[in-house]
């Protein structure tokens, strides 16, 4: 079932934080070209939250949303907030039809877990994107489907065997074990398999001649509002534009400053009063430690400091 039937997107605080952080990352592409010249390709669902945000904050006007749930076409059209171009097709069909001559920000935010289709999409985008583009891919990372398939049929092949059958030996490294199909390890495996697929696409592209291309991973996210999700984000650029890439200074983004490439978004559980108290000290001046009063848990306070600029503010409004 598509997640839009299950989850009210506006109530997903970690996703909200991820979107905001991604927005700051996208903004830095200005070193390549003004953001207004970019195209945003996403999977907007009925909420289009990412589209609204990036249209308003970055001024991106060319927007394409791919939607496979053709049955609810009217509902998507009715909820489309701006002049977003809708493609009612599976991504595997819609992506090859796009014009890739334009610099793009592509965020394929899937509901499901890693699949061959996800990898095929990653490969297609990696081989088609113009230099100066961003590729972001999010997948559900709870457990591999093959684990469930094995639990339903214990007389059959193991989960890992099924996983190898699904993805093929070139994609599943020798060291992968059964526990890599569960929890955090599965999130890590999903990211690395997506990354390898994009790198493979770039490698093939480089074998064709033309200026040498690179895919440079910038950051990964993991978070859990309802289902555990993980995202990998990187920039594709070619040799003549290396300087532009360097001028983006992605490493200076505050959520990347500690050199950690994986940002674990843990939404702190704090009261409004506690938040107000912590905020008076932020941003922390260099060399100062956070003062904690009362019984604010250290862990919650720390994640607040890390994420406060990106967290949503909730209030109930009676109309």
């Amino acid at each position: 079932m598509s997640s839009f039937r299950k989850i009210n997107y506006s109530l997903r605080p970690a996703k909200h934080a991820e979107r905001k952080m991604m927005g700051e990352l996208f903004r830095r592409l200005a070193a390549f070209a003004p953001l207004e010249e970019y195209r945003y390709v996403g999977l907007g669902s009925v909420w289009f939250a990412d589209f609204s945000l990036y249209h308003k904050s970055l001024g991106i006007a060319d927007m394409v949303s791919i939607e496979r749930a053709t049955g609810s076409k009217a509902r998507f059209e009715a909820n489309r907030p701006f002049n977003i171009q809708m493609k009612f097709k599976p991504t595997t069909q819609a992506l090859p039809e796009l014009d890739w001559n334009k610099r793009s920000i592509v965020w394929l935010d899937y509901d499901g877990v890693l699949s061959v289709d996800v990898l095929l999409d990653a490969r297609l985008v990696g081989s088609s994107c113009r230099s100066g583009s961003i590729i972001a891919i999010s997948v559900n990372a709870g457990r591999a489907d093959e684990v469930t398939a094995f639990e339903d049929d214990r007389n059959g092949p193991t989960a890992l065997e099924r996983f190898k059958v699904t993805f093929g030996r070139e994609r599943v490294a020798d060291k992968i074990a059964d526990d890599d199909l569960l929890g955090k390890r599965f999130a890590k495996l999903s990211r690395s398999m997506i990354l390898s697929e994009i790198e493979e696409a770039v490698a093939r592209r480089n074998g064709q001649g033309g200026p040498k291309c690179f895919f440079n991973p910038i950051v990964s996210f993991s978070y859990k509002d309802d289902a555990p999700m993980t995202t990998i984000v990187g920039v594709l650029y070619d040799e003549p534009e290396r300087e532009n890439f360097e001028r983006c200074h992605f490493g200076e983004l505050d959520f990347l400053k500690d050199g950690n490439e994986l940002v674990d978004i843990e939404v702190p559980k704090l009261t409004i009063k506690e938040i107000r108290y912590l905020e008076t000290q932020l941003p922390l001046a260099a060399g100062h430690d956070l003062q904690i009063e009362g019984d604010i848990p250290q862990r919650e306070a720390n994640s607040f400091v890390k994420l406060y600029r990106y967290l949503p503010n909730f209030a109930t409004l009676e109309v």
Partner: protein, 444 residues
């Protein structure tokens, strides 16, 4: 100028020759060719014992260079001069008994395929030599010789005999693939299966620093369920005999691993083959009747292995790239008949198994339960001649008779019950609600 009028110069340019040479081999295959050369070294060193303990081959590749190093004895200056760097195997060339690198072209082809600069250092216990070639310069020069270089004792020397090959200035399409994780995964996967037998015998093969273990090919083995095994020897026209062993039986249900494996002098040539070539979907020519069905997933437990072994590597049935069999080889034709005969009863049994599963479902099939519980045995350990044995359906103890129920209901309704019953799948909803209803009617 008189010559120009009388003769046409048809001598190939070296550039043309090199381009033609490297065209018809896949990159993966070229890497394996180099590995095969090292394995041959290990075979020479083991002197027929096939014990490869302490023999090591290390392969490392990246987008900058390719390196293969081994401690497998190296080869002499004379062998290098007279055979190893010749294109094609010269008449009278020395050969390794049971060798797997028989075609005399693998090494050069791989080196040219990878890049524009290569260096080979080799040492035996008696002497050491090196060859270094800048391909672009070599192509521009007349003549077909490679220059000796000053030996480097860092990696190989007379007190640590072996061979070290470095290829640099990689071709762009090669560099990009050597740099990719998927390529490394593919190479590791290929070595695991293609060189399985050597690794099992102790050969230490490393790829980019990681030691590779062999995949085992295992078959169900008990008194009631055991594979057919046949062993025989073939000799043609006074050439060295070919020892053949054929095994056909049942293994774990893994579609990817089902099919025929053909192994020549220890090197796996075909793995999990399910084409006509190994008999699948084969028609009887006269009656137009199917002898063996085409592969289908109900045969996911089929395992067949055909080993060929000969002192003379031209007698075993492989093609020049070692990725398929030579169907015209008399040894193959003789073994193929045997393979067909031994395959038939296994296929019949798997059809029986399928009928049992159809009747009882996967969870309840007594025959499937029997097969799943039968212990496995590594194929390499099977050498006694036996006939395939499997239990008949009615001989396996049966539980109560089952019937499968299938129905559909609106998704929303199923989700209501899924929530209420606390189960994960629609299937579980069906089972749980059946059980609950049954107990309400039978608990009186």
């Amino acid at each position: 100028m008189a010559n120009e009028e009388q003769e046409i110069n048809a001598e190939p340019t070296k550039t043309f020759f090199v381009d033609m040479l490297v065209r018809d081999i896949a990159l993966e295959q070229a890497v394996l060719d180099l590995l095969d050369n090292s394995v041959d070294g290990a075979k020479r060193e083991s002197e027929g014992s096939d014990d490869f303990t302490n023999k090591r081959i290390e392969i490392a590749f990246s987008s900058d260079q390719f390196v293969i190093w081994d401690n497998c004895g190296g080869f002499s200056r004379a062998v290098a001069r007279d055979y190893a760097f010749r294109f094609g195997r010269a008449a009278g060339a020395r050969s390794t008994p049971h060798s797997i690198g028989q075609f005399g072209v693998g090494m050069k082809r791989a080196l040219f395929k990878f890049g524009k600069h290569f260096r080979v250092d080799s040492a035996t216990t008696d002497e050491q030599w090196a060859v270094e070639v800048d391909v672009a310069a070599w192509e521009a020069e007349p003549g077909w010789t490679f220059p000796w270089a000053e030996p480097d004792t860092a990696k190989v020397a007379t007190n640590k005999p072996g061979t070290n090959i470095i290829v640099g200035q990689l071709r762009p399409e090669v560099a990009s693939r050597f740099g990719s994780q998927n390529f490394e995964n593919t190479i590791v996967g290929l070595i695991k299966s293609k060189h399985r037998q050597f690794i099992s015998a102790g050969l230490d093969v490393r790829v980019n620093g990681n030691r590779i273990d062999a995949t085992d090919l295992s078959l169900s083995f008990s008194d009631q369920l055991k594979p057919g095994v046949d062993v025989f020897e073939l000799t043609y026209n006074g050439a060295a005999p070919v020892k053949v062993k054929v095994i056909a039986g049942v293994g774990p249900s893994i579609p990817r691993e089902a099919g025929w494996y053909v192994i020549c002098n220890g090197r796996v040539v075909l793995e999990a083959d399910r084409r006509n070539v190994t008999g699948w979907g084969l028609m009887e020519e006269q009656q137009n009747r199917l002898l063996i069905p085409a592969y289908h997933n109900q045969f996911a437990r089929f395992r067949g292995v055909a080993w060929f072994d000969s002192d003379d590597s031209s007698q075993v049935p492989w093609n020049t790239t070692k990725d398929d069999i030579d169907q015209d080889s008399p040894a193959w034709q003789a073994a193929f008949e045997k393979m067909q005969q031994m395959m038939r009863p296994v296929i019949d049994f798997l059809n029986e198994l399928d009928r049992d599963i159809d009747e009882y479902t996967r969870e309840k099939s007594p025959l499937l339960d029997f097969v799943a519980k039968t212990p496995l045995r590594k194929s390499d350990t099977l050498s006694e001649k036996t006939v395939f044995a499997a239990p008949a359906r009615d001989s396996v103890q049966k539980g109560p008779k089952y019937v499968k129920i299938q129905y559909s209901r609106p998704v929303d309704d199923v989700e209501v019950l899924q929530e209420e019953l606390g189960v994960r799948s629609a299937k579980a909803v069906g089972e749980k609600s059946f059980d609950l209803t049954l107990s309400r009617f039978t608990d009186e």
